[in-house]
């Protein structure tokens, strides 16, 4: 019996090691491009093309200064932060409200409206920016920040509503019912119970939408003619010449623009934790 136990723990230990081996090797494939990006950002122009090694021959930290100034990032960075925060905030507020209604409340044309949102997520409109831009001009908000933020909120809504609705439906109804008995209104149920309980899902929504807002550049290019309103992605183009790409500067710039996204992810992923504790039946 005792030997058996010993064997068991050994087996568990062995499988633990295997699991770690698998996780670590997968982690290496994830980290490799990141290392390449940083290593390239420290090389000299010709070294990028002649030395494939991950260890640069010399460390050219000045690439970062060059990338920052040539890419005009001091202007673009503030813009992108403003855009990303407003877009994500807008999406979270509007989509949680709608998803809660689709999941729990009854109102006329509920299904039709829901499927209309779903449809919008599924049709890839080629050159959607053309009718959209015409619309912005008609509304008189082309080349304004709001004229960029509003359509960007709209473009993130459908996927977010779809994901959140399913997560809301998964939350046990008992919680709400007891809250209603305690005299909570619908809106209170929404923000006091549903919102905190759906925090893991909302965090993923934030992560997904922040990523797409931060990386967007086509609508920005179409909408803005004022260079002072452009987002960070605009700063990357200057290094991709018609005939020649300056990878060392491009990678320095990409490293700079990737950092905030990693930070958003770091700060949001910790909310992806169990929000349902206590005696609740599934």
């Amino acid at each position: 019996m005792k030997r058996d136990m010993h064997f068991m723990t050994k087996k568990i230990k062995f499988s633990r090691i295997l699991i770690h081996l698998f996780l670590i090797s997968y982690a290496i494939t994830c980290l490799f491009p990141l290392l390449w990006m940083i290593s390239t950002s420290l090389k000299s122009t010709s070294e990028v093309y002649t030395n494939k090694s991950l260890i640069p021959q010399s460390l050219n930290f000045e690439n970062y200064i060059k990338a920052w100034t040539e890419g005009n990032f001091s202007i673009y960075f503030t813009n992108s932060v403003i855009y990303t925060i407003s877009i994500v905030l807008g999406i979270v507020i509007v989509s949680t409200l709608a998803a809660y209604a689709f999941a729990r409340l009854n109102f006329p044309f509920k299904n039709i409206i829901y499927y209309a949102f779903l449809m919008m997520m599924l049709i890839p409109i080629p050159g959607a920016f053309v009718p959209l831009y015409v619309l912005l001009v008609k509304l008189g908000i082309q080349n304004t920040r709001i004229g960029y933020i509003l359509p960007m909120i709209n473009s993130g809504l459908s996927v977010s509503i779809f994901i959140l609705k399913e997560f809301f439906e998964q939350i046990p109804k008992e919680l709400e019912e007891s809250a209603v008995i305690d005299g909570c209104g619908k809106f209170q149920v929404y923000y006091k119970i549903m919102f905190p309980l759906a925090l893991p899902a909302i965090s993923t929504i934030v992560i997904f939408n922040a990523l797409s807002a931060w990386n967007e550049y086509i609508l920005a290019a179409v909408n803005f003619t004022d260079p002072n309103k452009m987002p960070v992605q605009q700063g990357l183009f200057i290094f991709q010449g018609q005939y020649f790409t300056r990878y060392e500067l491009l990678m320095a710039a990409t490293t700079i623009t990737t950092l905030p996204i990693i930070m958003i992810y770091l700060s949001m992923q910790k909310y992806i934790v169990r929000s349902l504790t206590g005696a609740i039946k599934g």
């Binding site: 093309y49 831009y133 260079p227 183009f237 020649f244």
Partner: protein
């Protein structure tokens, strides 16, 4: 009551002054907006614009967008009629003709009659529409060229030597070209690559399209008036079969892009490449130590009966908005920009050759670029549009499969004819 009246009068007075001031202020400063995609020359263009402002008081604002952004922006702005005064044209006649038909770009002929002689004729022809050229556009010149280029073969002299070939005698005939390829291959050297994964593959066979079919038949076939089969297009694609059978294509050439091929060439990993005059600048950036290479004109194929013409010509060019408030001022600026002093400055930073022919001083050119300059006379000036633009895609993809040995030239020509019906 009187106090209120006084207030209103005061406000009206202030408003009038502001209005008058702003109108007169607006009159003084002409502001021209130009969109462009010349990323690496953005700073230079802005410097030149500042210089122009000091000289004339006309403000020119250059705005940079990436290549694919430009396409999107122009389409959207064309629909909403919010295009800038001028922009760098995207694509050549096919794209240009659409904007001209839609009335978005200006026929420049009346404005640049005295100016156009500064550019080589075959270059201007690439942005000029004529009657019955298949584009259905009011005849005239629609673009002002900024720089020019052309495409030829380049070879690595050291690798030629290593294979026992004379490094100063590049192949003159197609047979020699194939022979050289075989010898390089036998010496363990990858003989050839270019960007067959993208548009660059098409350009390599273009000289032979002209050589085998002649200008007339080639254009007739493209416009769908005769079939590619009848025009003898199979023979052109057969050249790829000959190269393939000689083992000339480096592995992966079928879907390679041009920068990858350029990187291999600059690192001495392939012996020959088909590339543009800009490649000289590219190689210098990629590997400054790589200098022992030279240029050769597409080798003459004795089986073909016409003269080979090479692709190239106009690099970047400007078009002018038909609805611009400042048509005259914009064109004045573009003339100044393409004048000798400005072109000389531009040529230093550009990978391409200046469009203004008076700018090129043959004594100051390096040997390789001088060879490319010689080629400018043999650049073709006119290529008809395909009846169905998809034919070009069928051709690119078909070439890839010929290189891989998955399709025969006959198959591809048949598919092209079906698409171009």
């Amino acid at each position: 009551m009187r106090r209120l009246l006084g207030k209103i009068l005061g406000i009206v007075l202030v408003l009038t002054i502001v209005l008058v001031l702003s109108v007169s202020y607006g009159k003084e400063t002409v502001k021209i907006t130009i969109w462009h995609y010349l990323n690496d020359r953005d700073k230079l263009l802005k410097t030149l614009a500042a210089q122009y402002y000091l000289k004339t008081g006309v403000r020119v604002e250059f705005q940079l967008y990436s290549g694919d952004q430009m396409g999107a922006k122009i389409r959207a702005a064309a629909q909403a009629r919010t295009l800038p005064d001028a922009w760098t044209g995207v694509g050549l006649k096919g794209d240009l003709s659409k904007l001209a038909q839609a009335g978005n770009i200006l026929n420049l002929t009346p404005y640049i009659k005295d100016w156009v002689s500064r550019f080589p004729e075959n270059i201007v022809a690439q942005v000029t529409f004529t009657k019955d050229d298949g584009f259905n556009v009011e005849p005239g010149t629609y673009g002002i060229p900024l720089d020019v280029n052309n495409m030829q073969f380049l070879y690595n002299k050291d690798l030629f030597k290593k294979a026992g070939l004379d490094p100063n005698k590049p192949p003159k005939t197609w047979n020699e070209f194939i022979e050289y390829g075989k010898k390089l291959k036998a010496a363990g050297i990858l003989p050839f690559a270019t960007g067959f994964g993208t548009w660059a593959g098409l350009t390599m066979i273009q000289p032979y399209e002209f050589a085998y079919l002649g200008e007339e038949k080639l254009n007739a076939a493209r416009m769908g008036k005769i079939t590619f089969k009848d025009a003898g297009y199979v023979k052109v694609l057969n050249l790829l079969v000959e190269m393939r059978d000689a083992g000339m294509f480096a592995p992966g050439t079928a879907t390679m892009d041009l920068p990858t091929a350029e990187q291999m060439f600059a690192n001495g990993q392939i012996a020959m490449i088909f590339d543009g005059s800009w490649a000289i600048g590219v190689f210098k950036m990629m590997n400054p130590n790589f200098k022992n290479y030279f240029v050769f004109f597409p080798p003459k194929d004795e089986r073909a009966s016409y003269q080979a013409l090479i692709p190239g010509g106009i690099g970047a060019y400007f078009v002018v908005n038909k609805d611009s408030k400042y048509i005259k001022e914009t064109i004045e600026f573009l003339k100044w920009l393409t004048d000798v002093p400005q072109q000389a400055k531009y040529a230093k930073e550009s990978f391409n050759l200046p469009a203004n022919k008076n700018t090129i001083d043959p004594r100051t050119l390096g040997p390789q670029i001088a060879e490319f300059v010689k080629g400018m006379d043999r650049v073709y000036s006119y290529l008809a549009p395909y009846k169905n633009p998809r034919t070009e895609e069928i051709l690119i993809k078909g070439m890839q499969l010929i290189i891989l040995g998955q399709k025969t030239p006959e198959d591809v020509v048949k598919e092209m004819d079906e698409a171009n019906k």
